[in-house]
């Protein structure tokens, strides 16, 4: 290791009130054209949360329609458009960018002790691509929307008369490149911009998770891009590669699609696991249990993710040989996932747990992810999958993983870093109430759907047998409860921006580097090179009554 010249100390130390990234430059162009990773992270967060709101409205409309068999509020065709929009918006505009691009952009360089990501311009370009993708989705809505399901399965997606298929596919193509460039940026940043002392095994686990995620983003997303490009060409020029009537192979489309989209599921869940590792360790003030196991399990999941895609295709006509192989490999994903769960629980054991909002979300994650993960085993089993495939059981399973795990972790992480991002504390009591409401509402909504699915209700159906109605009614009521929880969250978070208490530099007692800089962080993150230590050594952190935050107290000599 060559040593780098030490950064000279900045001549003046600015307080967060006089200089931070939020007020460093003023005006809307200074935000939209910013090269600062923190601002780009904030822009992503705003965009993702707005998209989450839009996707949530579609979800509410779909759930409301399903209150009664037959027509309740919308006709069948509109229903098809709405559930498709819900899926596409939530997957491509919300969950995939939510943790890496939104929170990751803000947190990664600071946690690493770097001044920025490796390619700030590319980072801004990614964000502009994200905006373009979102605009394409809106254009698609104007041009007649799309009813293909978020999976764009051929030959339906190449033959449907819905007018907005091409714009939305172009949008997803663009969003894919946004995701690729974010991943590329993160890999290079983690490899090349670590300051002296930040070795691989001193990196916080969130960074390991982002690193594993970035590997998937870079390696899997191009395949989705070319597949969608082929669908567009197929729609425009009828080339027939995926069209069985022209000698093409629709199962090949599914292979291509899931070669990306199964790893994409891990693009959603792996960074969520990283956040949970941070939340559990910091809020139970205890050294993380099994650091290396958690770190390597992230990478293991990333690698496994590429060889299990066929478990989405058990009933598609895939050969029995491949069914068997994919089923067997899929089970093995349970191992690294369980490693993480056990390590988190061991970290909690005898920890000094602060039962605050981020911790509640982390605990909710563990419960929901365990249910979501274990029901995944039912679906990876060949013979049960034949019964459960394309039923509400699958819907419930992936909502437990994508929403109950990935999004819950995102919201938990948002609360954890909210003081750092905004410099304000949110209302802790309301936060815990909202978390409880979301947790209860979520389980009412989706646990019911496990029963609905195992009784045989197919997914995506507009109409159903009367005996299913009671489940649908319960599920819809649950979704309203959940929505009210999120609305409450939105309200107190906005309120905190206006009248929240000023946040100290380290409100939770975290030992990672982002808690060493002020809240909100200064424009260049660190005025002097941060001293890198063990990210999970909380022994020197003590609660300081005056500042209402944690300060580092070294045993021999005190240092503020």
């Amino acid at each position: 290791m060559t040593t780098l010249p030490a950064r000279p100390a900045a001549p003046t130390y600015d307080t967060p009130e006089s200089d931070n990234y939020l007020i460093h430059d003023k005006g809307i162009p200074s935000w939209l054209l910013t090269l600062d990773h923190k601002r780009i992270g904030v822009l992503y967060t705003v965009g993702v949360l707005l998209s989450f709101f839009v996707g949530g409205i579609f979800a509410m409309l779909v759930r409301t329609e399903l209150l009664t068999p037959g027509r309740t509020i919308i006709d069948a065709e509109t229903y098809n458009h709405f559930f498709t929009l819900h899926g596409a918006v939530m997957v491509f505009l919300v969950i995939i960018p939510s943790i890496p691009a939104a929170l990751g952009n803000f947190v990664l360089p600071i946690m690493l002790g770097a001044k920025d990501v490796a390619f700030p311009r590319l980072n801004l370009f990614s964000y502009h691509l994200w905006i373009s993708g979102a605009i394409c989705t809106v254009v698609s809505l104007v041009m007649g929307s799309f009813d293909t399901g978020w999976t764009f399965y051929t030959p339906y997606s190449t033959t449907t008369t819905a007018g907005g298929v091409i714009p939305v596919i172009v949008g997803v193509f663009i969003l894919g490149f946004s995701s690729i460039f974010t991943g590329l940026n993160f890999i290079v940043t983690i490899h090349k911009l670590r300051p002296p002392g930040m070795t691989w095994f001193r990196m916080p686990l969130f960074l390991w998770a982002l690193y594993a995620t970035a590997l998937i983003q870079v390696l899997a997303t191009p395949v989705l891009a070319i597949t969608l490009a082929l669908v567009v060409v197929e729609r425009i020029a009828n080339i027939g590669i995926f069209n069985p009537a022209m000698g093409g192979d629709p199962v090949l489309y599914q292979h291509f699609f899931w070669f990306y989209s199964h790893p994409a599921v891990y693009i959603m869940i792996v960074p969520a696991m990283g956040i949970i590792s941070e939340l559990i360790a910091v809020h139970s003030h205890r050294q993380i249990f099994g650091y290396r196991f958690i770190a390597f399990s992230s990478v293991a999941i990333a690698i496994f993710s590429f060889i299990v895609w066929g478990h989405h295709m058990f009933t598609s006509g895939q050969s029995s040989l491949m069914n068997t192989l994919f089923s067997a490999i899929s089970f093995s994903v349970a191992i690294p996932s369980a490693v993480k769960i056990f390590n988190w629980i061991c970290t909690l054991y005898k920890g000094s747990i602060s039962l605050n909002t981020p911790m509640l979300y982390a605990l909710a994650f563990i419960v929901l992810f365990t249910i979501g993960g274990l029901t995944g085993l039912h679906l990876a089993t060949l013979n049960t999958d034949v019964h459960l495939h394309d039923t509400y059981f699958v819907v419930a399973h992936f909502h437990y993983v994508m929403m109950g795990s990935a999004l819950i972790a995102m919201v938990g992480g948002l609360h954890h870093w909210w003081p750092k991002i905004t410099g304000r504390m949110y209302n802790e009591k309301l936060g815990m109430i909202a978390c409880a409401i979301v947790f209860v509402g979520f389980n009412i909504t989706f646990f019911t759907q496990f029963m609905l699915g195992s009784h045989g209700m197919p997914r995506r159906y507009y109409d159903y047998q009367p005996e299913f109605q009671i489940y649908h009614v319960i599920s819809t009521i649950g979704s309203y409860i959940m929505a009210s929880g999120f609305l409450l969250t939105a309200m107190y978070l906005v309120q905190s921006l206006v009248s929240g208490k000023r946040a100290p530099a380290n409100p939770w007692g975290g030992a990672t580097l982002e808690w060493e800089c002020a809240s909100p962080p200064p424009y260049y993150n660190f005025h002097e090179a941060p001293k890198v230590g063990d990210p999970y050594d909380f022994s020197n952190l003590h609660w300081d009554e005056r500042g209402e935050g944690y300060v580092t107290v070294k045993p021999p000599a005190a240092k503020a």
Binding site: A118, F119, V218, L230, G240, A245, G247, F259
Partner: protein, 330 residues
């Protein structure tokens, strides 16, 4: 579009540093004006850019890789189609294009060498030569494509349409009314003919059996024209501008296997995507020529030349596989 993005990042600091980060970094920037504020040394910046470019190249590999997988699946499924249809491609033009791309790769590599050694004029000359190679490749590709369009060696239904007087495709409206003969063995429907409209709107209920397809094979023409004969005829046509593009020879050939249109679908998909990459390459090489002309590159700083070089070599590399896989099947 995206290729020069990592390369372009070396300006990243331009806007950033205007804010005057206090002290410290001034001496770096004076010695290395290209050094972005968040890097400590030129080596760190160069390594980062190079790693970023390699990651981008991997996305390119997978981008094309999916199409290669599609190619493999189709070829495995319809081996006779690929053997047959390859004869319609002009090996000479394909071979010349391969050589042109290899030579342009060589000039690009030499360009990197001259940039590293600070020889500005030689660098600009090399970049122009590379640009010429790229342009030559596209011109040859243009002639290949236009010839095939004339004789309806295209994707989809257009492949099965006879050439009209003006050499263009029949309009969709006309063809939808014209019945297209369909051999009885090829369908389970009782009628021996099916309209082109039905063909154009493929329906699930016409799920083909085995090798069969709802797309009609051509009506039997002069029996058993071998690929070699077709090749000879095509060459003859190509040599004679007067008859150039007057006939869709494949439609006269009873030996043409079903689903031959798929060969051309994947051919245009892959070579088309490759062609787009060549055009993007010409764009970024042009950008390099401008910057090299201003004398921006030298032994201290040549990263953009190096990265564009890597991109250009990957374009060459893809063609190295496309050439034997499409042109050289026997």
């Amino acid at each position: 579009m995206s290729a020069h993005a990592p390369a372009g990042d070396h300006h990243a600091a331009d806007g950033h540093d205007d804010h005057g980060h206090g002290g410290g970094h001034g001496h770096h920037n004076a010695e290395y004006p290209f050094l972005a504020h968040h890097f400590e040394t030129p080596a760190q910046q160069f390594d980062s850019a190079k790693l970023g470019m390699w990651l981008f190249l991997v996305t390119e590999v997978l981008f094309f890789g999916a199409l290669f997988v599609g190619y493999a699946v189709l070829r495995n499924r319809y081996p006779d189609v690929f053997t047959y249809a390859s004869a319609y491609l002009d090996t000479t033009l394909g071979g010349i294009n391969t050589a042109v791309l290899i030579l342009s790769s060589l000039t690009m590599a030499m360009g990197v060498y001259f940039a590293q050694t600070g020889r500005k004029t030689a660098l600009v000359v090399c970049l122009w030569l590379t640009m010429a190679g790229a342009a030559g490749f596209m011109v040859i590709k243009y002639f290949e494509y236009t010839h095939k369009f004339h004789v309806h060696l295209v994707w989809g239904e257009g492949f099965y349409k006879p050439v009209t007087d003006d050499g263009g495709l029949q309009s969709a409206e006309l063809s939808s009314k014209a019945p297209v003969p369909l051999a009885p063995a090829q369908t389970t429907m009782s009628a021996g003919t099916v309209t082109a409209q039905q063909l154009a709107m493929p329906a699930f209920v016409q799920m083909p059996a085995g090798e069969q397809t709802a797309i009609a094979p051509p009506a039997a023409g002069p029996a058993g024209m071998a690929p070699a004969v077709i090749d000879a005829k095509a060459a003859e046509h190509a040599a004679d501008p007067a008859t150039h593009g007057d006939e869709a020879l494949h439609l006269e050939d009873a030996a043409m296997p079903p689903n031959t249109h798929l060969f051309f679908a994947i051919y245009y998909a892959m070579t088309g995507l490759h062609g787009i990459h060549v055009l993007v390459g010409m764009g970024v090489i042009g950008w390099l020529i401008v910057r090299a002309g201003r004398g921006e590159f030298g032994p201290k700083y040549y990263t953009p030349v190096d990265l564009v070089g890597l991109y250009w070599h990957i374009v060459d590399l893809v063609w190295i596989f496309l050439f034997p896989l499409f042109y050289l099947i026997d």
